[in-house]
């Protein structure tokens, strides 16, 4: 099939008209999370940046935003890792291989890869935050020579909630990536670190002028981790974080995702701390 150029695919009478994408693989990762591999039905590439998201539709049920979890360096299929919580996410789980879903996007502003080049990148993931960060991590690894030290800190509630275990096993063995993981609560088989993700900072050396910290996680994590990297001396405009808000349109119209005057769907979801710190509704 002849891929349609991106610009042409986006030229539509309605910003709400999705493209069709086929589910070509489904892997259950945990009791509540499933990894979906999809391909656009017209054969075109998604053309995303790590950190961007899609509005995914199960027609007749609804539409919801999900981060793109695969890296643009990995070809035309793309992946979403979705936690079952409500109508759309349950309906997605029921879909079989070969089913079509609607997708709109890629939407929003992704991670600032150009700021990270030739710098140390410190990735900090809490819970589902690993989903968009996996796109970034894979991209960093695939273009490894463009970046200096790559450090990844990953915290989850308990070992059973850990996502992407197979990939993590590979990241751990690489000597050009420093990967550290912790859980809030250990279970009998767990031999690693126990405690919140901030405890992983203890044995970490951060060069404030050469490091770009990138964090995605729940609001409580941001509060603590931002404090920690600021204490290391990292300037505010180099601290990168991605926020989650309720979203409906994904294009800066419907108002749901607004943080003060900022639209998370359009101006974010990725921001620098400098951009957010004066916005009280950012809750940082």
């Amino acid at each position: 099939m002849n891929p349609l150029p991106l610009a042409e695919r986006r030229l539509k009478p309605s910003p709400f008209l999705p493209d069709l994408a086929e589910i070509i693989r489904k892997d259950r990762l945990t009791a509540t999370e499933t990894l979906y591999r999809l391909r656009l039905a017209d054969g075109s590439e998604l053309g995303h940046t790590p950190g961007q998201f899609l509005e995914v539709s199960v027609l007749g049920i609804g539409e919801a935003p999900f981060s793109i979890s695969s890296s643009p360096t990995r070809g035309e299929a793309f992946e979403l890792c979705i936690r079952r919580v409500g109508d759309v996410t349950k309906a997605l789980e029921r879909l079989e291989l070969g089913s079509m879903v609607g997708v709109r996007g890629p939407l929003g502003r992704g991670f600032p890869l150009s700021t990270m080049r030739k710098q140390n990148v410190l990735v900090i993931a809490g819970g589902l935050g690993i989903v968009p960060l996996r796109s970034l991590i894979t991209n960093l690894i695939d273009e490894r020579d463009d970046f200096d030290d790559v450090t990844i800190l990953y915290g989850c509630k308990n070992p059973g909630e850990m996502l992407f275990k197979d990939e993590i096993a590979q990241w751990v063995t690489r000597d050009d990536v420093d990967f550290r993981v912790t859980t809030d609560i250990a279970d009998p088989g767990w031999k690693g670190n126990v405690g919140p993700v901030t405890t992983l900072f203890r044995r970490l050396e951060v060069h404030p002028a050469r490091t770009v910290p990138v964090m995605v996680g729940p609001p409580v994590m941001f509060k603590h981790v931002v404090k920690q990297v600021l204490a290391c001396g990292v300037p505010e405009d180099r601290i990168v974080l991605s926020l989650e808000r309720r979203m409906k349109c994904g294009i800066g119209e419907c108002g749901h995702c607004q943080i003060n005057g900022v639209y998370v769907c359009q101006d974010g979801p990725v921001f620098t701390y400098a951009e957010l710190k004066r916005l009280e509704e950012a809750m940082l």
Binding site: P13, S14, F16, L17, L59, N260
Partner: protein, 348 residues
């Protein structure tokens, strides 16, 4: 484009004829309130009116609007629905014309929203100037939305027995071409118009203690004001204020399936930032839980955020929200109280 002068009687006959041939909407008295409605004859139009209960923007962003229709099955079919009835809306006040200009800037220039654009193409806007203030809740004079110079097809000014007609677009010119009794506006007609404007300018007085372009700064300084907590205590979170506001455009999106479970549609409906669930996410966390934060958000959108993003008034001073509010939350009072106690955490 050349302005016209027309005797009122001729204008009314013209409206009668138009209304018999196509959809004409105008403000109509319905009990104590005035609403935009389809009319059949000019005499149905309310003579004097406050801003209508609902703004005319409902013709561009209806309460519920279909965005897509689809058919499920082996091959999913879907197509956008551009519902756009042809309608001539008579008697739109200048404040509402300013609000529509803002919506155009957002939905057409910025978002390229085909649904809005299709409706906008098929609506004809006939404005009606205000020559005296409607009540003590309006503050268009302070928001500089009393005068309007663009974004209408025709703009009417009531000069007694005659109506002055400013032509704002080719569409307006063509609509008026069929009007008998109209003539080109002459120097003396423009003099009458100017006198009417002078009388109007004397009748309207500022209601805000700040100019509209100082509001963003004032609101930014007032982020910590205790007034927000006071308003949060009063507000019922009913959402009436956002429903009636001509510059409110937030919406929710949903799907519905027909009984055959094969066909259905996606629609958008009005939503309100004053409702608790508006900013709630998957974890059940609401990012704007306290009422004080929600009231503050609305008034910041009106006085600050929209202005900062789109360079236009996000509030046009129509006073509808104050008239609709059961507990008398009134932007005039809010802005003036903030002005009276800048940056401090004291109130009254």
């Amino acid at each position: 484009m050349l302005d016209r002068m027309v005797p009122k009687a001729d204008l009314n006959r013209f409206i009668d004829r138009l209304a018999s041939e196509q959809t004409v909407a105008a403000p109509v008295a319905e009990g104590p309130s005035i609403r935009f409605q389809a009319i059949r004859a000019a005499h149905e139009i309310a003579e004097h009116y406050l801003p209508t209960a609902l703004p005319p923007s409902k013709y561009l962003l209806p309460v519920k609007e279909t965005l897509l229709q689809f058919r499920l099955g082996e091959h999913i079919e879907m197509e956008p629905v551009l519902e756009a009835p042809e309608v001539i809306v008579f008697g739109i006040r200048p404040c509402d014309l300013h609000a529509l200009a803002l919506l155009d800037a957002i939905f057409i220039d910025d978002k390229h929203d085909g649904h809005y654009a299709a409706r906008r193409r098929r609506i004809t806007l006939v404005g009606m100037e205000c020559l005296e203030p409607c009540d003590d809740r309006c503050f268009c004079h302070s928001m500089e939305t009393l005068e309007v110079h663009a974004n209408y097809d025709l703009l009417l000014t009531d000069l007694g027995d005659d109506v002055y007609v400013a032509v704002g677009s080719p569409k307006g010119r063509d609509l008026f071409a069929g009007l008998t009794g109209a003539r080109e506006a002459l120097y003396e007609d423009r003099t009458r118009l100017r006198r009417a404007h002078e009388a109007r300018d004397a009748a309207f007085t500022p209601r805000l203690d700040v100019s509209f372009d100082q509001l963003p700064g004032l609101l930014a300084e007032s982020a910590d004001s205790l007034l927000w907590d006071v308003l949060g205590e009063k507000c019922l979170s009913c959402g009436a204020c956002t429903n009636v506001c001509p510059t409110c455009y937030c919406f929710d999106v949903g799907d519905e399936l027909d009984l055959d479970l094969a066909t259905g549609r996606r629609y958008r409906t009005w939503d309100s930032c004053q409702l608790d669930a508006f900013a709630m996410v998957g974890t059940g966390e609401s990012f704007r839980k306290p009422r004080a934060m929600r009231v503050k958000h609305r008034l910041n959108r009106k006085g600050r955020y929209i202005m900062e993003r789109y360079g236009r008034q996000g509030c046009v001073g129509c006073g509808r929200c104050a008239r609709a509010c059961l507990v008398d939350i009134n932007p005039i009072e809010v802005f003036n109280q903030l002005k009276g106690q800048p940056a401090s955490r004291t109130v009254r």
